[in-house]
Amino acid sequence: MADMLQVAHREIKMGFRNPWAYSFLALLCTFSLGLLLINSQNVVQGYSAVTGSMLSLILYLLPLMTLFLGSFSLTSEKEEGSWQLLSTYPIGTMSFILGKYTGLAVVLLIIVATGYGLMGMISGLIGMAFDSATYFLLLAFSAGLVLLFLTVALFIGSLSRNRWQALTVSVSVWFFTIIGWPTFLIAILGLMPYLWIKPLLVALTILNPAELVRLFVVIKLGGGSVLGPEYYQWVEWIGRSTGSLLFMLVCLAWILISILAVYRIWERGRSRG
């Protein structure tokens, strides 16, 4: 535990001395404020074009930022040799991974919090109608996105040998999960028997953190009815308070399984030197 906190503390310090973190911070603030000012005439409440475009912006930006910062942090451990050094100390691989995850999560969440803090403050200053429930949902959406994509980032960082590899893989994963997702799914599922499509679609959606979190927030914003009668029971279920609990459990399972997998990769690398 103490080891983990040490690693996390070091990670946070490294994170905030990393110019990348600040460039993403600036990017997030600029874009969210731009969006806020464009929509300053509209009420930000429920599922509408305003919240829809905010969701899209967050979906474009946050996963990319998380994948870069997360995977680079792990590859730099290998590239700079600090992992080789750490391996000689009596520090558990799990403490190392968990510390890395926690530290990076804190850095990313602080970046997100700064963006939202600025957004909340400015919207208050210009007297814009920003529904508080919608604000908190968007904040939770961003936090969930960051936490889930961070595990993917750790994966990429573990499997890549250097930063360049991590960069390439990160961009392709980002493109696949955010932009290309419907295209790939529609193409592949078109080959399947008709009755398989819905269950496969649901299963694959749970595997894609971006879609999982997006759909949860759309339903929580009250937009569940756009998904149509096919998902009526799901929408009703998630709309209740137990739905949030289930969603959190799914996210937790996602994070735990991924961290365990990352742990195995590092443990194997350590034992083989």
Binding site: G120, I179, I197, G228
Partner: protein, 455 residues
């Protein structure tokens, strides 16, 4: 509590005597009871009606009266808002049955405990007036059958479950069948099945009604020549469901917040022709205006705000579609199988127009991309991709057969808003600002402490 009676007719005297007599009979009984009982005196209303003559005007004293009653004379019955008619006989399907032309019922509270097909008021006569009534019903509210030229105004109708009874099926608030020329004005209807249900009833006027928490606020079919205007509907499954009609006017209505059901919409037009749908406001619905199999209609000056899907055309052709405003809808428009619509001069807020000539009209056309709708028609499971960033990306790449898409060749660059689109500011602004400040403060402190200071 003495009933006052307009003494312009000799018959009224007899009623007075009769009512006084009945009061006299009951008085000792109620005198002995403690005043905890809110309705100590219950008067049967039918004998009063039976005693009255054609053309009489009866003003009921405050109190509780017992139904069911059958009004078979040209009477005016006024409860002045303080008389209540109660129908709790399980056998009585109708609390008030009106079978006399020109009868008037005013200011009466009616409670119909029977559910199912039972109605609070059933009218089977012409030129009947029902005004200022307050109706609580476990079944239907006001039912008109073969009743022409009636007036139903300023009534409040809501559904309730009688004490100790299981909640039954909801009936309709105002239900017309084969009743022409009725004027339905300024009623407030809530928690029932359909607010105003019109079938085979031509030339009906539905004006300024307020309709909340219903299945369909206004549900009508085969009502040629009717008008539905200035009504307000909120939190219903569907605002106005207009089917199988010609020459109907739907104007000035406001249908909002109908988004919770997977079949929700503001205004649904099915098999509607040569009608005009103008000046309506649809806001925050799942689908603002849904138009199916409808042709030769005029849709003008409607304001479509903050819906998930602004307007949806399916097999709707030959309609005039002009000067409508689309603002802050998640998806503005869907159109499949809808050709030959005259679409021009609408305002689409997400459209980046280009106005070279400076006449306020974009020189680039606005085309409705049918990709997503075609996709979900093939398999509804793909609705999971609604407005996913990847879906937007894929739709934008799809330009197959663009010449056949529904297109607005002259979209407006700006919309002059004359309707109240603002002022729906929700509370919690202060909270957002406070939390924002707090988040910013904590973040900046952390960044400075962890990153900037070399401790």
């Amino acid at each position: 509590m003495i009933p006052s009676i307009n003494t312009n007719n000799t018959g009224t005297l007899r009623i007075l005597i009769l009512m006084l007599f009945s009061l006299f009979l009951m008085y000792p009984a109620s005198c002995g009871t403690v005043s905890a009982n809110p309705n100590p005196e219950v008067i049967s209303l039918q004998p009063i009606i039976d005693a009255a003559n054609n053309g009489d005007s009866i003003t009921l004293a405050p109190g509780t009266y017992l139904g069911p009653v059958h009004i078979d004379k040209r009477l005016t019955i006024n409860g002045e808002g303080r008389a209540t008619l109660l129908n709790s006989y399980p056998d009585a399907e109708v609390a008030v049955l009106i079978s006399a032309d020109d009868a008037k019922l005013k200011g009466l509270n009616i409670q119909q405990d029977n559910g199912g097909e039972a109605a609070a008021i059933r009218v089977e006569a012409d030129q009947v007036t029902l005004e200022d009534l307050s109706i609580h019903t476990a079944g239907f509210g006001i039912v008109l059958r073969e009743a022409n030229d009636c007036v139903i105004a300023n009534n409040k109708i809501r559904w309730f479950t009688p004490k100790g009874a299981a909640s039954g099926t909801r009936g309709n608030g105002i239900d017309l069948y084969n009743s022409q020329g009725t004027n339905i004005r300024a009623n407030e209807i809530s928690y029932l099945r359909d607010g105003i249900y019109l079938e085979n009833s031509r030339n009906t006027k539905v004006d300024q009604n307020r309709l909340y928490y219903l299945r369909y606020a206004i549900h009508c079919m085969y009502i040629n020549g009717s008008s539905i205007s200035n009504n307000i509907g909120e939190y219903n499954i569907t605002g106005a469901m207009v089917m199988g009609v010609k020459d109907v006017v739907v104007s000035g209505n406001s249908f909002r917040k109908q988004s919770q059901n997977v079949h929700s919409q503001g205004i649904l037009l099915y098999d509607v022709s040569t009608s005009s749908i103008v000046n309506n406001l649809v806001e925050g619905n799942r689908v603002g205006i849904y138009m199916q199999q409808s042709s030769d209609n005029t849709l003008q000056n409607n304001l479509v705000l903050r819906n998930y899907i602004g307007i949806q055309f399916e097999g709707a052709g030959g309609n005039q579609f002009q000067r409508n405003g689309f603002i802050a809808n998640v998806i503005e428009a869907h159109a499949t199988g809808s050709k030959n619509n005259q679409m021009n001069g609408n305002y689409w807020d997400s459209f980046e127009g280009l106005d070279i000539t400076g006449d306020g009209i974009s020189d680039l056309p606005y085309a409705i991309n049918p990709f997503y709708q075609q996709l979900i028609t093939k398999n509804a499971a793909y609705q999971l991709f609604f407005q996913s960033p990847g879906m937007t990306f894929l739709s934008d790449m799809y330009t197959n057969g663009k010449a056949q898409w529904s297109t607005d060749p002259t979209p407006l660059m700006q919309l002059q808003l004359d309707k109240a689109t603002q002022g729906q500011a929700s509370g919690g602004q202060g909270l957002v600002m406070l939390v924002g400040l707090l988040l910013l403060f904590v973040s900046v402190i952390t960044i400075i402490y962890m990153g900037v200071l070399r401790l």
